[in-house]
């Protein structure tokens, strides 16, 4: 059976199965377990209503538990074992990691990524959002800058491979160097700075995301505050930095953290562009080097990423709890 047919069949079975589950679970609950009739009708309705939320939640909780909660513990547990998974080595994998200079490079580079990419993307996004806010063709401009969001990291990397190509007839960077009389060079092999050339790709993708959200936040600023500032004689620059920015600070933080989390997970760009060579390794791509070869090491790297993400996660949860209350 061709995979596509298999896929369509899976959709039918999956969707049918879900609907079947939800419908029949409800039916059984209301008709047989706690029927709303007989001497205990009232109590049964209450009981059924207490159980029902869990029926609705069950499939999602199973899937989340299996694919996201269990792996946190499963990965940590696995990272305490050796390559084959047979011997308990305690924190041996972690000790090895920190002894490996490539891992330290990856950690250092990841810190660079975390510092540079969210800051640049948020700044550029804010800039574009503010500039396009008053333009008649602003929506078209935003749409075009937003477009890279739809492109895969692999596709984006290929697009930038053309930009960075060594041949001055292909790479626009080297074409410009050629015009001013410099010899061509491979941006991917320029030590240290090559990391920044790779970051440009992710900034190119994420600026649109930051722009869309910040643009909506700018629109949401109450007119009166801006008008009051104008009456008081504030300059546009003052209005932007003293009136608008403080009011959208919350959104800026959300955008910033969202991109930070993304930066810690994206391995595609480094994998496609340099394969982690020339000192451009980052944690996710470093992990893929050990995936399938040394699961103990790979899960240890994954857990290091988890620990870096943890503060953001806790902050998110605290925010969410505040809101629900």
């Amino acid at each position: 059976m061709s995979p596509l047919l298999q896929g369509i069949l899976t959709v039918i079975i999956g969707v049918g199965g879900c609907i079947g589950y939800f419908w029949s679970a409800n039916f059984v609950l209301d008709r047989f377990i706690f029927p709303a009739k007989g001497p205990e009708a009232g109590r049964n309705i209450n009981r059924a209503n207490a159980v029902r939320p869990w029926l609705f939640l069950l499939p999602a909780m199973l899937a989340l538990g299996l694919y996201l909660v269990y792996p946190v513990f499963g990965s940590f547990w696995r990272s305490l074992f050796n390559r084959a998974g047979t011997d308990f080595v305690g924190f041996g994998n972690y000790a090895q990691l920190f002894g490996d200079s490539e891992f330290r490079t990856a950690l250092f580079n990841n810190m660079l990524w975390v510092l540079v990419v969210p800051a640049s993307a948020t700044f550029l996004g804010l800039l574009v959002a503010q500039l396009t806010d008053r333009l008649s063709w602003g929506n078209i401009a935003k749409s075009l800058i937003f477009m890279p969001m739809a492109i895969s990291f692999v596709g984006a990397s290929l697009i930038w491979k053309f930009v960075y190509a060594v041949d001055p007839e292909i790479g626009i960077i080297n074409a410009m160097r050629d015009i001013i009389g410099l010899s061509p060079l491979d941006p991917m092999q320029v030590g240290f700075w090559n990391n920044f050339f790779l970051m440009v790709i992710l900034i190119w993708i994420q600026t649109g995301f930051a722009m869309v959200i910040l643009s909506a936040a700018l629109r949401g600023i109450p007119e009166e505050t801006v008008e009051a500032a104008i009456i008081d004689g504030a300059t546009p620059v003052q209005i932007f930095f003293r009136i608008k920015i403080p009011q959208i600070m919350g959104t800026i933080v959300v955008v910033w953290t969202t991109i930070t989390i993304l930066v810690l997970k994206v391995f595609d760009i480094v994998y496609t562009m340099t394969g982690g060579n020339f000192g451009t390794q980052i944690l996710p791509s470093y992990m893929m080097e050990y995936m399938f070869r040394d699961d103990g090491r790979a899960t240890a790297v994954a857990f290091v990423i988890m620990i870096i993400v943890l503060p953001v996660m806790i902050w998110n949860i605290v925010q969410a709890r505040k809101e629900v209350r």
Partner: protein, 382 residues
């Protein structure tokens, strides 16, 4: 929007400021578009054209150097042995910009002049390609000479790259595989998430707040953690690396965002409608299927687009949960692991492959941008 800019009331210098704003936005947009346009243009050029001139020169004729063997027989004349003919061959046409008799100097002489070659030989080439070669030697030369000339080649766009990619390079299989991964992985989580989101939004039960917090926390769990344990799990339950594995994985990984987006949307639905339906005797199941689900269509659409783009563009999950043979490669894996290695220097092919892989997401993006933006806003701004 013009009215809004008037409200800013920047006295004087407004037109100057607005020109600066316009220009800087134009600059940024161009900067953002140039890389993609480069890819698109390159995908329609053949290998020779790509190496001969930059894609930014693609609309202009290119000067290329050619070498042809003089076609014809030597004839003995008082001047010596002579060959005459046309560089572009019978029925061909073109414009010679320069010519020469040696590989090292293919552009030594202007067309219409007579060039002096070694040992008294001469070569005359006209702009239209007519040439006359004279060798004063006594004996008939053994080989016809090679003539070098430069000529302008008109811009040439071709779909050969796409034909190659889709017929012989296996990109067609990868395309189908991507589609196969994407469809179930987009549809199935929606349904599961919708029920859960309804429960979290409109049903009252203990630990509801804690569950919502857990979902929010799971939003940021790095996928990397799931790779090893879940692959092991798939191997144990017998599905191993297969399409089933990747469908399940994408479903699990997509759920937190789905539940979060849908719950945020459903919580905002008017309370009156739902409560009056319950007063009229509707069960939760009926309220959900008949009222909440249809009203939540925009949120469902936003999540569907997200999940579609994410699964279509994914490389990591596909690399780990799908078999690593060429029949099961999705497009991202095909490009990253195969084409970049085996056809690394063939820029036209790479460009066409990349464009095939990003074409569908781009169409989805431009047609359904409204829902995408709405989803982003629901997911990030609180």
């Amino acid at each position: 929007m013009a009215a809004a800019s008037d409200d800013d009331g920047i006295a004087g210098g407004r037109s100057g400021l607005s020109i600066v704003t316009n220009l800087s936005v134009v600059f940024l947009v161009v900067l953002w578009l140039v890389p993609t346009i480069g890819l698109l243009v390159s995908s329609f050029r053949d290998r020779d054209a790509i190496t001969a001139s930059g894609w930014w020169n693609a609309p202009f004729p290119v000067e290329q150097n050619f070498a042809v063997g003089a076609d014809g027989e030597f004839e003995q004349t008082p001047e010596g042995w002579v060959i005459e003919g046309n560089l572009f061959g019978e029925g061909g046409s073109g414009e010679v910009t320069a010519f020469g008799g040696r590989r090292a100097e293919p552009n030594a002489f202007e067309p219409g002049t007579t060039g002096e070659l070694v040992r008294g030989r001469t070569l005359t080439v006209e702009t239209n390609g007519d040439f006359r070669y004279v060798d004063p030697a006594e004996e008939e030369p053994r080989r016809a000479p090679t003539i070098y000339f430069g000529s302008e080649v008109p811009p040439n766009f071709t779909t050969t790259n796409y034909e190659t990619i889709l017929t012989s390079a296996g990109m067609d299989v990868a395309f189908i595989n991507t589609l196969t991964v994407t469809i179930p992985a987009t549809i199935i989580p929606i349904l599961i998430a919708a029920f859960a989101a309804y429960a979290l939004a409109w049903m009252d039960f203990p630990f509801r707040g804690a569950l919502i917090a857990i979902v929010v926390g799971l939003l940021v769990v790095p996928l990397q953690l799931a790779l090893v344990p879940m692959l092991q799990f798939h191997n144990e339950i017998g599905i191993g690396q297969s399409f089933y594995g990747i469908w399940f994985a994408h479903t699990g990984f997509g759920l937190p965002l789905a539940i979060y987006l849908l719950r945020n949307y459903m919580v905002g639905l008017p309370r009156d409608i739902i409560e009056s339906a319950k007063v009229d005797g509707a069960t939760d199941f009926q309220v959900f299927t008949k009222i909440v689900l249809p009203l939540s269509f925009p949120a469902l659409a936003s999540f569907a687009i997200f999940q579609f783009l994410w699964t279509w563009n994914d490389l990591l999950v596909a690399k780990v949960f799908l078999p690593s043979n060429s029949e099961s490669w999705v497009m991202t894996v095909k490009i990253a692991d195969d084409l970049l290695g085996s056809r690394g220097g063939d820029w036209g092919i790479l460009a066409a492959a990349a464009f095939v892989s990003i074409a569908v997401p781009l169409v989805v993006f431009f047609t359904m941008q409204r829902y995408l933006v709405r989803g982003l806003l629901a997911g990030s701004v609180k």
